[in-house]
Amino acid sequence: MTMRTISKPASITSRLWRAMALLALILLASAVVALWAGARQIDLAALRSDPFAQTLFFRLRLPRVVMAALIGSSLAAAGAALQALFRNPLADPFTLGVSGGGAVGASVAIALGWGARVSGIPLVIVAAFCGAMGAVVLVHRLARTGAVVLPGALLLSGVVVNMVAGAAVLTIQYVTDSTRALQILRWMIGSLDVVGFATIERMLFFLVPAWIALLAFAGDLHLLAIDEETAATLGVNIRRCETAVHVLCALMVGVTVAVGGAIGFVGLIVPHAVRLLFGEDLRIVLPGSFVLGAAFLVSADAVARTALSTTELPVGAVTALLGGPMFLWLLRRRQRYSAL
């Protein structure tokens, strides 16, 4: 056979730019629709002249869309990174219990008082990060045998961590006073309600460095997604990559959980959608998940705000209704050719 029989594959650079251009368009379209959609539709004329429409748009709707984009990007990128690190297509911050760990941390902080700070950083963010970090390290330790991360043990550990986290949050609600218990309950439902950009600025302070650092590991994660031993012999510092991904994912999930509650399945749905569109290369899947994650949660939040005329749905319910069936479909597909 000659090499001419194989068509020349597109270079990774051109595939990456094509993917990012298309996904940026999808994000732009979803943002425009989400900014327009709502109980009161805002047109351009009203935005120029009506002070109420201006307040509604700039103080409520725009910050909410930006918040959804930040949280969606972070969860989707964390999902893509964890899937590669654990070589498990079913991994996601929610299924691995990372969000659950973050929720325990955040609940402890809320029980101690919303306004508490550690060195100027809101305690709820610090506690959610610590909870998420504890969960990801625990799940990884439980699932790892020598050089192998057992896929079944990984998911089971995630389920158990989630159950224990759920019980811990309930216990905290039970022992704390009724006002704070109600605050925890409202926070747990998960909402992207935000007024102004102060919270967003605080989130960006943590998220931007985490995003940049995670994207810097895309090449290493691409090799790790193929095989850990092979990645090690190709020059990847496995220990450093593992530690970095643990810390960065815990930070991203911790910050988003602290602000928006535990929103599930974004990290599962989005990376797989990117894979279906652009292939398996992590150097495309990771940045692609980042952009599509923003578009996905912006759209899911628009649906949550407008699906019912009388009330808003929790955005976590919308993502779970989409993500649950997708998890089962992936589980079924995976059983065909791989040991779970």
Binding site: M1, M3, T5, I6, K8, P9, S11, I12, T13, L16, R87, N88, P89, G146, A147, P151, A216, G219, H222, L223, A225, I226, D227, E229, T230, A232, T233, L234, G235, V236, N237, R275, G279, E280, D281, R283, Y337, S338, A339
Partner: protein, 260 residues
């Protein structure tokens, strides 16, 4: 340092659990431009030893040397340009195409934050062609048979253009034709490019007459080493495998081996 030897293990010790050594004091040298087979019974420490040579595991005592330099002192990317390793298991979780897998072999040559170029792709396709797997280039690896995945893994290692190839049971899932093709490839690369290869194998018929050296391990220690003609004999194999029923015979210049 012995300039004749490319790869050396010097009194290497390793165990996965404290007090349970798997490799206990192995000293072994692989000559530059030679094919060396590592044989021994199941659980004797062959795969652990080759993983120590690959740098996947770190020796708890002793030292692995590449060109006389301690392996742990060589930057990872530099070592990856000189040593390529094909693990025993080639199962993968994601449906990467075979070409994507082989292209990862070019990563030691690709600067950080850069992607593989046209020349890398040409080398990856060439490596697939060398192992007779060019037709698999665009197929997802999760849909390939064990033997086909093994060929892709060997192609990935060849794409690294290493001076030394470490293969852990590379022929375990290969059919007769591809097994012979693998041996021919190793011999050709040794003769044309001076490739050094250390191959863990249970397939003793792979060894004679093409391999230069055979090293037998038992209980984590080297018990026999020599040429194929010296090692592949009834009494020696009986000692290595603790099996008095091993028989050998010579047919057309090759050693046939079986157990009664």
């Amino acid at each position: 340092m012995n300039e004749f030897h490319l790869l050396e293990a010097c009194d290497v010790r390793f165990g996965y659990s404290p007090g349970v050594p798997v490799v206990s004091g192995v000293s072994l040298a692989v000559a530059r431009g030679s094919l060396c087979a590592l044989i021994g019974p199941n659980g004797c420490g062959k795969s652990t030893l080759i993983r120590l040579f690959a740098g996947v595991l770190q020796a708890q005592a002793g030292e692995i040397r590449l060109d006389g330099v301690p392996l742990h002192g060589i930057p990872r990317k530099e070592a990856a340009k000189r040593i390529a390793y094909v693990p025993q298991s080639t199962a993968m979780a994601f449906p990467f195409t075979a070409l994507e897998v082989v292209l990862t072999g070019r990563s030691p040559y690709t600067p950080r934050f850069r992607f593989e170029n046209d020349s890398d792709r040409a080398r990856a396709l060439d490596a697939l062609d060398t192992v007779g797997a060019l037709h698999l280039a665009s197929r997802p690896v999760t849909e390939l048979s064990g033997g086909e995945r093994q060929m892709v893994a060997v192609a990935r290692a060849l794409a690294q253009e290493p001076a030394c190839l470490l293969l852990d049971e590379p022929s375990a899932a290969l059919d007769l034709k591809h097994r012979a093709a693998l041996v021919r490839t190793l011999v050709r690369l040794r003769d044309t490019r001076g490739l050094t290869a250390l191959v863990v194998t249970h397939d003793l018929h792979l060894i004679d007459p093409v391999f230069d050296r055979v090293c037998a391990i038992r209980g984590g220690s080297v018990i026999v080493r020599g040429s194929p003609a010296e090692v592949l004999r009834d009494g020696v194999l009986a000692e290595i495998y603790d099996d008095a029923h091993v028989r050998t015979t010579r047919v057309d210049g090759r050693t046939l081996i079986w157990s009664e």
